[in-house]
């Protein structure tokens, strides 16, 4: 219940899905949490439900000035940052023949530029406390992308390389700032639920998805959030530059995980 006591955390994309699960878990573990999201309605609603320790701050991760404002506001409310979780993301599956240049640029902007700006802003704030942990939410699609993850897979792979360079730089500089990535497979988010429910037979589609996973089920948001908690907390104090798979064994398999995935 107190694995993050007195820590100040920012979770981008924290208003919904995996990000929201991380926010709730961090609050339960005693952190002060900023939900940094471009969805003000959902962000405010979640923050209100979690009490004084949780605040919503507007953030468009692709805007350098928005990062500056969000970080300044965070420091004013809670103090310098200890933990940054970059969970904001988009995904529009399309093959190389169908994806547009705009699709490509937008994925690169959110996952690549967004993570770049986030790491820069976080390091500047964390240096004030001489310590911190950055957790970038990546995906199994950055390691072994399916054919429809043209833009998403490439953008997440770009983010992965950034995770490592940030880890190495911080080590070299003698900052006690760690940087790791978490790679979930299919996770039971509201977005996935919506997708499953839009199918003619949602149960059958879920069964197909579950069947692709060695564990024969889709991950819960809590299972991904638990891994993020581990990397965010001091328990992982000797881990940096690591890619942590939370994938039910998918990447240990020798063959693709299934149609389109």
């Amino acid at each position: 219940m107190n694995r993050l006591s007195n820590k100040v955390a920012m979770v981008t994309g924290g208003a919904n899905g995996i990000g929201a699960g991380i926010v709730s878990l961090f609050i339960n573990e005693g952190a002060k949490v900023v939900i940094a999201d471009n969805n003000a309605d959902a962000g405010n609603a979640l923050a209100d439900s979690l009490g004084e320790q949780c605040q919503y701050i507007y953030l468009d991760v692709t805007e350098a000035s928005a990062w500056q404002r969000a970080m300044q506001a965070t420091e004013e409310v809670f103090g310098p940052l200890d933990i940054l979780v970059q969970s904001a993301g988009i995904s529009r599956p399309a093959s190389i023949e169908d994806a547009s240049l705009d699709d490509w640029r937008e994925h690169m902007k959110v996952h690549g530029e967004g993570a770049f700006l986030g790491c820069r802003a976080a390091i500047a704030s964390m240096k004030k406390n001489h310590a911190g942990s950055i957790v970038n939410i990546s995906s199994v699609e950055s390691i072994r992308p399916g054919p429809l993850f043209t833009c998403y897979g490439a953008a997440k792979a770009a983010q992965d390389a950034l995770t490592k360079t940030v880890a190495l730089h911080c080590g070299e500089m003698g900052y006690d700032i760690r940087c790791n990535s978490v790679h979930p497979a299919a996770t039971y988010t509201p977005l996935l639920q919506q997708y499953l429910e839009s199918a003619p037979d949602p149960k059958a589609l879920e069964k197909i998805y579950a069947g692709m996973q060695p564990l024969n089920r889709i991950a819960t948001v809590e299972e991904v959030a638990n891994s993020v908690l581990f990397l965010a907390s001091d328990e992982s104090s000797f881990m940096t530059g690591h890619q942590m798979y939370v994938d039910g064994g998918v990447l240990a398999k020798p063959y693709p995980s299934g149609q389109g995935a």
């Binding site: 080590g171 104090s237 690591h242």
Partner: protein
């Protein structure tokens, strides 16, 4: 609630001090696991058991040669009789015979592979058999960064640890639908008794080793123990067939 409440955990190679097995056992004890620790070093094992008992936790400490199939059969049977189940198995026992491949004798090679890899085969074989009876469990295998990248002078050590990594994945996939998870931990340079002995012989290496780690220092056994705890407990319920690298950034370079 403690993170290993009501779980029965076996940690092999728990005698060395400071050592990973001992640190893992102590960390598990703090989370209220029911513990069995084993080793061939009975004196060290007894000392580890006393440290654990000092935390107010019951612990069984038994002699076990992890290269002996009969010892594995006996150990698992005894756990089932006395504790009723096995929830967590940490295959930690290991040795490092550090010579170049060219200088290594056949006997040294056999011993290296037997203690580090055959032991994990046997532990997985009988651990899985026990876990299947009670609805699942978590196997945590101690590999090394030497199982991920080549390190000159490690002879067969790296091969044995790479073997542990792949055994972990195979066991994970073979038993995923039985609710048995299996993962490997890859420590970098950790301040254990093995490391301390090496530094005593070559003190000038201390700073050189620290500088080779991006975080600028060696790791502590407790930092590896926290990773073992995460993989052992239900928080990692969707993590299987993968690695945790605890190396201060060494293999990210």
């Amino acid at each position: 609630m403690s993170r290993l409440q009501d779980k029965v955990a076996l940690v092999t190679g728990a005698a060395s001090n400071p050592g990973l097995g001992r640190a893992i056992a102590l960390r598990f004890a703090q989370e209220d696991a029911k513990l069995i620790i084993t080793d061939i070093n009975e004196e060290g094992l007894k000392a580890a058991a006393e440290d654990i008992k000092a935390l107010g936790v019951e612990v069984a400490f038994w002699h076990q040669d992890v290269t002996s199939e009969q010892d594995w059969l006996n150990t698992i049977e005894r756990i089932e009789t006395q504790f009723g189940r096995l929830d967590v198995l940490v295959n930690n026992a290991g040795i490092a015979v550090l010579r170049t491949v060219h200088d290594m004798t056949m006997a040294e090679y056999d011993r290296q592979m037997s203690v580090n890899m055959t032991s994990v085969f046997l532990g997985s074989k009988y651990g899985v058999g026990s876990m299947k009876k009670t609805g699942g469990g978590s196997i945590v295998n101690l590999s090394s960064v030497a199982g991920l990248v080549g390190i000159p002078g490690t002879g067969a050590y790296g091969a044995s640890k790479a073997g542990v990594r792949m055994l972990s994945k195979t066991v994970a996939l073979e038993n995923a639908r039985e609710n048995i998870r299996c993962n490997s931990i890859h420590p970098g340079v950790i301040w254990t008794n093995i490391q301390q002995d090496a530094i005593r012989d070559n003190p000038e290496q201390y700073e050189i080793i620290n500088e080779s780690v991006p975080m600028g220092r060696m790791g502590q056994p407790e930092e590896v123990a926290n990773c073992a705890l995460f993989l052992a407990c239900d928080e990692s319920s969707y993590v299987t067939g993968t690695e945790l690298t605890v190396d201060g950034g060494m293999v990210a370079q």
